[in-house]
Symmetry: C2
Subunit: 225 residues, 2 copies
Amino acid sequence: MTTEPADPPSARGTLSREKVVRTAVAMADESGGKVPSTRKLAERLGVQAMALYHHFRNKDALLDGMVDFVFSEIELPSQGEDWKAEMRRRAASMREALVRHPWAIALMDSRADAGLATLRHHNAVIGCLRAQGFTVAGAAHAFSLLDAYIYGFVMQELALPFESPGDLEEVAAPILEQAAIEGFPHLAELAMEHALKPGYDYADEFWIGLDLILDGLERHRDSWA
Amino acid sequence: MTTEPADPPSARGTLSREKVVRTAVAMADESGGKVPSTRKLAERLGVQAMALYHHFRNKDALLDGMVDFVFSEIELPSQGEDWKAEMRRRAASMREALVRHPWAIALMDSRADAGLATLRHHNAVIGCLRAQGFTVAGAAHAFSLLDAYIYGFVMQELALPFESPGDLEEVAAPILEQAAIEGFPHLAELAMEHALKPGYDYADEFWIGLDLILDGLERHRDSWA
DNA sequence: CAGGAAAACTGTACAGTGTAAAGTACCGGC
DNA sequence: GCCGGTACTTTACACTGTACAGTTTTCCTG
């Protein structure tokens, strides 16, 4: 009975940078895309809100940590193999991570400083390309193009107003009917004859675009200065 | 002196959907990327905050309006001409609009319902492709790929931690030196021998990637079911 | 072991956010 | 002239990030 100073006062040793980030990621995932408030996050950690500020300069620093955590989950390409296969694997893994953590994409466009896992990821991608015949400039082009495509595709995918391909019809049908009437015939045609067809899944578009890009990169690989 | 009930009480006829949206866009642009709060916006319009809710169901509806406004500024492709040139023009215009309104990209990934200008834009793009030999499925592939690339590229462009290409060195140099030391040689190499070279401008990458995509689309145009 | 500084967490407080609810002035139409 | 809807104001509430000032606990030094 010497050192038991009641429950509330002491929660020493609970927090740590990584634990906070992991919990914040979990809560954001659960809530379907909203980063938790400092108070909610602190509550889950069994601590007062202000305790977080001992481990992060401000909330932005926490968000940086969350983004870096997402990058840490992406499979790194290796240098020794067929670069197209490696890039496809990396792209698939990156897309999965961004879809699994749908709040991440929104955070990225305001984040300037990259974390360690992020740098490691970029380094591995460039390293793979360089090892397989891309020039420095070529690797820069390829990296910019691939990442832009992956980010943009996931953005569009997440912006879709439905969850599973099946829910599509009920959401889109009335809108599209009006679209046709009000003078957007091409949009209506594309929806009716393509996107609303049973079996259509927007996710399939990912591979079509990706392979087109990879083929283009292969074609340019040796000609890029 | 009959009907002058002091200034404050009556501000009838000031607001309108479009005026609110235009003012919100202007304020967001001025502030460098932050959407104004309802109170700041109302103040600029000479009105109380709650007055806005007579024209918009909630703030999200206002944001929808802002996004649609951005789309209204994008040049539409025409159907009669060379589709590659039209797509290039459209892509350039879209990128300019998204860079001119850097808050827009962040809004897009949470917006489900498209506005009128947005639908018109999508319709025109698909119409141009269809008119020049793309199948319905082919137009869908092309549209998805092009838009993903444009969105993603602008996201990356806006996330860069500097404004003009000149500011790059001072920001990146110390970071990169550490990167090389801490084991990211490929990243360091790319930075040193490419991105930090005088005259390098990340914006140039836009055209390289875009042309690669357009060439790939041309190649697939007739083979896509 | 004493003590003092640093570290980890608490308490309180404040300015700012979106918006619900109710009130008030003005307008056009019977 | 009245009356209902429209356009706006007033007040209020729950919630946000975080500044500032404690209060412990831990650990290093003499």
